[in-house]
């Protein structure tokens, strides 16, 4: 690799590592504070799965769109969603990204191109395709990344949305985080043995990829290529990222009695933060001084977000009936 390319590549990797570490620390802070019972909404943590979000969003701009699901924290943050607004939303405060109306399951940050995340499985797949369609109708060439879990590929609307995206050659990337579980139901109870999702998707006509969801650097390179190609010639792409969440489906606790301890241990051995940290240190793109500085900067941000959220007010009572309709201008 030429020196210039090496420097560019190392910059991207270090920046991505910073984003990965940041998301991890934010999620850990939310999980730790949750027991104080002041964040009173269901939370679905991304701990263990964050690298997929970071890699998928790294080469996107604010003009590109993202839609997401109940497990949206990492996607929201990776796309550049405001941290203060996120934490305030968990606390139900007026300064939350959804004004306190939505909580963790209904996030949006339009400035960052994060259009919305909702908890009905499969619902945002078609909405994301629609955003890409709307962009195309207006001759915009931005990209839409649609995050979904592997469970959502069991919904009929997934195939309907894929069909439409292909029919209209939309600039859509379906990023499927396969974390093997739909709540606590494992994949083998939901899928016929030998069913190959990538074959199904390819038979529709889409390009399909499989990625190791815990290897940030490898995913970064692949997403860079895919996104660059997408900017030249829009075409739907389906990416299955094999990954894992450490915590329970909903809530801050471990889930030792519902999934096997050995399985969780196995996945933790391939923790994306650890893997990337070691790799970048080994390649001399990162020093322990850097990492320490990162941790401190991140912690300051987190402290500020929690402090502001706790200080902020609840929305005024009149807000209850506000925003049912948008006022006609």
């Amino acid at each position: 690799m030429q020196l210039k390319e090496l420097i560019q590549s190392s910059r991207h990797r270090v920046e991505a590592f910073y984003n990965l570490l940041r998301i991890r620390r934010i999620e850990e802070a939310v999980a730790k504070n949750y027991s104080a019972q002041e964040m009173r909404c269901p939370v679905h943590f991304s701990i263990g799965q964050e690298a997929v979000a970071v890699a998928a969003c790294h080469y996107l701009t604010d003009d590109d769109y993202v839609t997401s699901t109940h497990r949206a924290h990492a996607h929201y943050l990776a796309k550049g969603g405001d941290l203060d607004a996120l934490i305030a939303e968990f606390y139900g405060k007026e300064t939350g990204c959804s004004g306190g109306y939505g909580g963790s399951m209904h996030l949006s940050d339009l400035n960052a191109g994060f259009l919305g995340s909702v908890p009905i499985v499969g619902s945002t797949i078609s909405i994301g395709v629609g955003a890409a369609f709307g962009a195309k109708l207006q001759n915009k060439n931005n990209i839409t990344v649609i995050f979904l879990g592997e469970g959502a590929t069991e919904e009929g609307v997934f195939f309907e949305s894929l069909n439409f995206a292909l029919l209209h050659k939309l600039a859509v990337i379906f990023v499927c985080e396969n974390n093997l579980y739909s709540i606590i139901t494992s994949l083998d109870k939901r899928r016929p043995k030998g069913a190959d999702l990538s074959k199904i998707v390819e038979s529709f006509g889409a390009h399909s990829y499989k990625m190791d969801g815990q290897d940030l650097c490898s995913m970064l390179d692949q997403f860079q290529t895919i996104i660059a190609s997408m900017r030249h010639s829009p075409h739907p792409v389906f990416i299955e990222c094999e990954t894992y969440r450490y915590l329970e489906h909903c809530g801050p606790n471990q889930e030792l009695n519902l999934r096997s301890e050995s399985e969780i241990k196995k996945w933790k051995k391939r923790d994306p933060v650890d893997i990337t940290h070691h790799k970048l240190m080994h390649e001399n793109f990162l020093t322990s001084v850097d990492v320490s500085a990162f941790e401190q900067a991140i912690q300051r941000e987190i402290d500020h977000a929690f402090m502001s959220a706790k200080k902020a007010s609840f929305p005024p009572r009149e807000n209850l009936m506000r925003h049912v309709y948008k006022e006609t201008p």
Partner: protein
């Protein structure tokens, strides 16, 4: 002023809206094809091209979501369901997503989406091609539900619905497509949220919408022959409901008859009667009456369907009964073989 059919008026509204605003698109099964959605999208694809007047895959659930997504980023879709029942597949997107998007994200984005839901009737279309489920949508905060009864209102309300930044359910009764109004040449709109007092009289307040308004108008002509004159309040917008005109009328007449083209239990007539009872109880001289479909699905045989749909005579009877006048059951003169299953005498099936 020009005598214009309801279906042409719908088409004119789409045409004008699309001319005025580049962001408006029309999509639905059969929208650009030879059937032209019963004439309501006639010629649009020739004028605006197939990127704005579009066909869609047979995938209602995702398509409403796709139109929602497009609406979020600047498009104003008008989606057509040739039969209301097909929209049932999209209830998640309509009820969980479109209706609530503006509220649950704190007012930051909106969904300017219009869904034209066409209500079928007659010619044995039966249980799944004859429903008017407008009341379901009135129950969902965040949706607006609009139901024109005349060609004039159809055009004006559709234009306003397209301009509205909220998701609007546009209830369109198929049998109304053949009716005509005088429509001005120049542009006009009919505002959402304003019922219309279309007949004045002291003897009863008849509240109706969509096809039931046609029945109410026929009833008022029959009653007038006996010197009985009624107020008819054509709702035009079901939600948000402005009940002022209704309350004013009931305070004058003391007699309320609500005509709704849905089934009885939990129908929209129940909402009107509740409001009037809450707000004008002491003005009521007689118990309120609802005239609706019975609580059963639509049968296909005219042998049964002839006794399924209320007739103008039912409204006449309700008004007369509220004045203690004697009445005869209108179905007494109906035979199983009668051809009541068509919108007008010149219609030949099928739909």
């Amino acid at each position: 002023m020009k005598k214009t059919r309801f279906d042409t008026a719908i088409c004119d509204a789409l045409n004008e809206s699309m001319l005025r605003d580049d962001r408006v698109i029309v999509i639905g099964q059969g929208v650009p094809d030879a059937s032209q959605t019963y004439g309501t999208t006639k010629g649009l694809v020739d004028t605006f091209g197939d990127k704005r007047v579009m066909e869609m895959p047979v995938a209602e659930a995702s398509m409403v979501g796709i139109m929602l997504g497009a609406a979020l980023v600047g498009i104003k879709p008008v989606m057509v369901f040739a039969r209301m029942e097909f929209a049932m597949l999209a209830m998640d997107q309509i009820v969980n997503q479109a209706a609530k998007w503006h509220y649950m994200f704190g007012g930051k984005s909106c969904v300017p989406l219009v869904l034209r839901l066409i209500v079928g009737r007659g010619w044995g279309q039966g249980a799944q091609h004859s429903q008017s489920l407008h009341n379901w949508f009135t129950h969902i905060p965040g949706l607006k539900v609009v139901a024109p009864a005349t060609a004039y209102d159809a055009k004006g309300l559709l234009i306003s619905s397209i301009e509205d930044p909220n998701p609007v359910i546009f209830i369109e009764h198929r049998w109304l497509h053949y009716t005509t109004s005088l429509i001005p040449k120049d542009a006009y709109t009919v505002p959402l949220g304003v019922p219309n007092l279309i007949k004045k009289g002291p003897d009863a307040s008849v509240v109706s919408s969509s096809y039931a308004t046609l029945d109410a108008l026929k009833a008022s002509e029959i009653l007038a022959k006996d010197g009985i004159h009624i107020d008819i309040i054509d709702l035009r917008t079901l939600t948000p409901l402005n009940d002022e005109i209704i309350l004013e009328s009931v305070k004058k007449t003391g007699r309320l008859i609500v005509c709704d083209q849905g089934t009885l239990t939990s129908g929209f007539a129940a909402e009107i009667i509740s409001r009037v009872t809450e707000k004008a109880f002491t003005y009521l001289k007689e118990p309120p009456v609802r005239i609706t479909l019975p609580d059963c699905p639509s049968p296909t045989t005219r042998g049964l369907a002839n006794y399924y749909y209320p007739m103008p005579e039912h409204i006449v009877n309700a008004v007369k009964k509220s004045h203690k006048k004697s009445v005869i059951d209108p179905y007494a003169n109906v035979n199983a073989s009668d051809y009541l299953d068509i919108p007008n005498k010149s219609f030949t099936g099928p739909f």
